[in-house]
């Protein structure tokens, strides 16, 4: 009996080697299924153009020709920059707006509080397809079609962020807020000097999650940016054709599209996993 966890694990059995082997086998196969497409994506992208159709597991000789090809065909650097701008601004905007709203819910009680809260919860039930048409028309009226602002602005209010931050603020010790008030701080001041520092891990996790989601978003940018390929997800689309794809450059572009997210994941693994679990969605 070392820890509670391992005590429980011991109870659900599986100390016998046979069962452990079975566990490794099943988990290994599933991991292979999950990782193989990603591996193959990068393997293909690193083959020399004439070797793209090879089946060898290890790409050899390595070649960056596909990447050069992709870079010459589309403005990949510009797209990555644009996508980065969208992801960062979208995540920061959502964080700020969600923080203010969650703070209001947590620090005061006021009339219509429940109703307003239900408004946020209710957005879960509104499918994207139900609102995109009027949103598109509204963007057109505002003259924001074909602009990055048009991609970012409609996503600014994240119900997920509000609900998540409110959950965390509910457990926030009110004594701290009281103390700040007695020190003569305004609510605005206490938000930034008391609440935000305490929430830093959650804010970081949520911010990463929102940035990744914005980075990977495809459908809304596809609507707003009909005539351009300003973000990478759309640039990728221009390589996809039914009459024979150019697989090498396509895989190189797809690989570059995923690379920042993978890099972020490797560096901030624990935060990201926490963010996904806590978010409860997507």
């Amino acid at each position: 009996m070392t820890t509670e966890r391992s005590a429980h694990d011991a109870l659900i059995g599986a100390r016998s080697p046979a069962q452990r082997v079975l566990g490794h086998l099943v988990l290994g196969l599933l991991s292979l299924f999950c990782v193989f497409p990603i591996y193959w994506l990068y393997a293909t992208s690193l083959r020399a153009p004439e070797d793209v159709y090879q089946l060898s597991v290890l790409p050899w000789p390595l070649s960056t020709a596909n990447y050069a090809d992709a870079l010459s065909k589309i403005d990949l650097a510009g797209m990555l920059l644009n996508t980065g701008i969208v992801a960062v601004l979208s995540a920061l905007g959502q964080l700020l707006i969600a923080l203010l709203a969650a703070y209001a819910f947590a620090a005061w009680s006021f009339p219509f509080q429940r109703l307003l809260y239900l408004m946020f919860v209710g957005t879960w039930l509104v499918p994207f397809q139900a609102t995109m048409l009027p949103n598109y028309v509204l963007l057109a009226r505002l003259g924001l079609l074909e602009t990055l602002a048009g991609v970012i602005i409609p996503t600014m209010c994240s119900a997920l962020g509000v609900l998540l931050l409110r959950e965390h603020l509910k457990g926030f010790p009110k004594e701290l807020l009281d103390a700040a008030r007695m020190d003569g701080r305004s609510s605005w001041g206490s938000l930034w000097t008391v609440v935000v520092p305490a929430l830093r891990p959650v804010l970081a996790a949520l911010g990463i999650l929102l940035a990744i989601t914005a980075w990977n978003e495809y459908f809304w940018p596809a609507m707003v940016l009909q005539r351009s390929n300003a973000v990478v997800q759309l640039g990728l689309r221009s390589f996809l054709g039914t009459e024979g794809n150019d697989w090498g450059p396509l895989m190189a572009t797809a690989g570059l599209t995923c690379l920042p997210v993978f890099a972020l994941y490797l560096v901030l693994q624990r935060h990201i996993v926490n963010a996904f679990v806590r978010s409860g969605l997507k």
Binding site: D9, G13, C34, P37, F110, R181, Y218, R237, V261
Partner: protein, 311 residues
């Protein structure tokens, strides 16, 4: 923005920050009441502008015939759009396909995660963390990139799957396999997240229950069946709910890129229309949501229906 934490109008909620009431002039009352609303204002305004107002507008448009071109007339048509939608011969099939996709997703969002969750406790330690990380990786792949690599894997002539199996199947464009392909790719995408949710749920279960059951002579299998799984049921219910609500949304970018990736620059109407009619056809029980007017449906339906007809 200098509001202070002051007395709450209804001082009932536990933990609400209170302060002594001060003067009762109009200004101080305003200052007392306003702060939470001011903090909420940006979020609520955005919510109304980008979610609830469009929703209302969608309902409004659904009773009209209009092609969204400002110069063309807008006619009120009552329930004609709904009648048209409900009597479309394609509707029944697409609802059934949606149900099939939801059913097909459940193994990936519930069954496999539970098995993995139970098994990772057997392998333990670093190995378990590595497996979990690997299974989670597809979640990070952008849907379009995922669609691209799967299209490459399933390519009729040069794809790895066909060459390993020695077949020349056109997986994505063949009735029968197309739906399976959509389910497997979507499952590949979300299984890691479901695994994480289940592991979090399993970690939250108090080990004392299992200990008590063992004292009573229960075997490992019995503990899993009668103690662990019932305690995990809220997590499982959440996953089922999520699958039902989001399956259509998860599959949409995939279907869109896999089947019409060829189109170069879509005319504005086709994308939107596809979205609306598509969601109409795939949201069981609520065909009223998208308010695509009938002229839209007729003008670009072939493409929309093609998207949803695959499989």
């Amino acid at each position: 923005m200098t509001g202070t934490f002051v007395e709450v109008p209804v001082p009932s909620v536990a933990g609400a920050v209170t302060a002594p009431a001060t003067r009762r002039s109009g200004w101080s009352t305003l200052r007392r009441i306003a702060p939470p609303y001011l903090y909420l204002a940006p979020a609520v305004v955005l919510l109304v502008v980008w979610t609830y107002q469009p929703l209302a507008q969608t309902f409004y448009l659904s009773f009209h015939s209009w092609n969204l071109v400002p110069t063309s007339p807008m006619r009120e048509v009552g329930f004609a759009n709904y009648v048209r939608l409900l009597t479309t011969s394609e509707l029944g099939g697409s609802v059934l396909r949606t149900l099939a996709v939801i059913g097909g997703m459940l193994p990936f969002t519930v069954l496999i995660p539970v098995i993995v969750g139970l098994l990772t406790r057997r392998v333990r330690g670093r190995a378990a963390a590595v497996y979990r990380g690997l299974v989670f990786a597809p979640m990070l792949v952008a849907p379009v990139a995922g669609a691209a690599v799967w299209q490459w894997l399933l390519d009729p002539t040069a794809g790895v799957v066909n060459r390993l199996l020695g077949t020349e199947l056109n997986w994505i464009n063949t009735t029968g396999t197309a739906q399976l392909v959509i389910i497997v790719i979507t499952g590949w995408h979300v299984v890691g997240f479901a695994v994480l949710v289940v592991s979090a749920g399993l970690t939250g279960i108090n080990p004392d229950y299992a200990a008590a059951a063992e004292v009573d002579g229960a075997s490992g299998g019995q503990i899993t069946r009668w103690v662990t799984l019932p305690l995990l049921s809220p997590t499982l219910a959440f996953l089922v709910l999520m699958t039902v609500l989001l399956s259509a949304q998860w599959t949409f970018p995939l279907i869109d890129t896999l089947t019409q990736g060829a189109r170069l620059v879509p005319p504005p109407t086709s994308t939107t229309c596809c979205g609306s009619t598509g969601s109409a056809a795939t949201t069981p029980g609520s065909p009223r949501r998208p308010g695509s007017s009938s002229s839209w449906v007729s003008s670009c339906s072939p493409r929309c229906w093609r998207v949803w007809r695959i499989g």
